[in-house]
């Protein structure tokens, strides 16, 4: 088995979304997940600009400038959709009514801190949008990302160096080379190392080496140590 490509990664995330769940997919990579959801699974997509029951991207005559997603891309509505204002949309999120939120990330820490809104570049124009609300609002916040930057730097780190989006909010990372649970605690509430649930084209030992982190092997072949 080799590392997952984007579509395979999206399919892997989609596989874990429970039937009947209300889900928010962040801008970028996570939007691909919608193409891999089983239409019979009863999953309902929320977009924070005010729509529950979002359908696929609009094409041709379907394009309506009044109907866009959080990335301002023209989309469609599914039967049973509803519209609401921004305060209600974020109450839906913050109030824990959204089951799963899937976000992209620049960095995630072993304790589940998330950095995904600012690269920290001094002359960059800051923009946060709904990132901070999404990170802490959903019942489960998952990250979907390549595990290493283009220059090979790990994005799962001991401590985030970039400006934080949320503290201890991420519970799972789906990456091209492995699936992790992060922010795991023991019965006494002390932090445990990330658990590796699955690997793709890399061994547990190689993964631990490349990340420079202590990890727990919870893969099928692992000892669960």
């Amino acid at each position: 088995m080799t590392a997952l490509n984007k579509e395979q990664l999206a399919a892997r995330v989609a596989q874990d979304i429970p039937a009947g769940a209300f889900v928010n997919l962040g801008i970028g990579l996570p939007t691909l997940v919608s193409d891999h959801l089983d239409p019979d699974s009863g999953v309902t997509l929320h977009t924070e600009n005010g729509l529950l029951g979002m359908g696929p991207a609009a094409v041709g005559d379907e394009i309506d400038p009044d109907l866009v997603n959080a990335g301002k891309i023209a989309v469609t509505e599914m039967p049973g959709a509803s519209y609401f204002n921004q305060a209600e949309s974020f109450a839906m999120m913050r109030g824990g009514h959204i089951d799963v939120c899937v976000l992209g990330a620049f960095e995630v820490s072993v304790e589940g801190d998330l950095a995904n809104w600012s690269t920290g570049t001094p002359d960059a124009i800051p923009a946060v949008g709904g990132a901070m609300d999404l990170a802490v609002g959903a019942r489960l916040t998952w990250v979907m990302m390549n595990l290493f930057t283009k220059s090979g730097e790990p994005k799962l780190v001991e401590t985030c160096t970039l400006p934080l989006t949320g503290v201890g909010c991420v519970s799972r990372i789906y990456s091209d080379v492995a699936v992790f649970d992060v922010g795991v605690k023991d019965d006494a509430g002390s932090p445990l190392p990330p658990r590796v649930l699955e690997t793709f084209g890399i061994t547990f030992d190689e993964l631990q080496d490349r990340l420079g982190l202590t990890l727990l092997d919870h893969t099928e072949s692992g000892a669960g140590s």
């Binding site: 997603n69 949309s89 109450a91 800051p126 923009a127 901070m132 609002g137």
Partner: protein
Amino acid sequence: MTTFVNTTLEAIGDIADGATVMVSGFGSAGQPVALIDALIEHGATDLTIVSNNAGNGDEGLARLIQLGRVRRMVCSFPRQSDSWHFDEAYRAGRVELELVPQGNLAERIRAAGAGIGAFYTPTGFGTPLAEGKETREIDGLGHVLEYPIRADVALVKAHRSDGVGNLTYRKTARNFGPIMATAATRTVVEVTDIVDTGLIDPESVVTPCIYVDTVVQVTYPLAGSSDEGAAA
């Protein structure tokens, strides 16, 4: 009581230099471009604008910023592929920015309209956007104290008004309209459609007329860059 007027310039009335103006919209969806054009023609300057974004392309809010009328932006997502007028003004130090997480922006506006003095929210806790703000642990979770955002005037794009100013919106163009309508001293609304009172089902009213001061009907696409967008 809601007043109906014939032109967008009459609709916006007198807006003082230095005023705080809320502008509805999420990107271009729900942005009251005809009312912003009237604001540009009116000439008010040194404005604080509360809006989710900081303009797209060369029209509406982007043009207001380009013309140097905006001193301060309160928004969640100014940077976009087509936000070049804001980008230039910000880099040149001509416009200040208060960056607010989108859900906090919405709730702070809602709080202003609902008479809430302040509220604690987990959003932003432990991040740079909460620096200097009061925090408190509630049910084991860090929260940040956030204050309401009020405005002198709200410029809102709705879809339809009845004869007394009850409003409905279209799809995701609703976004900030209903909450901004509640949070300003004066709420000015542009609609593309006005129907007789009774033709909007009371069960379907999104913004009750109590929040609406002035309504003007406009036709899109706008004919020109001034208040020619007014249909009547």
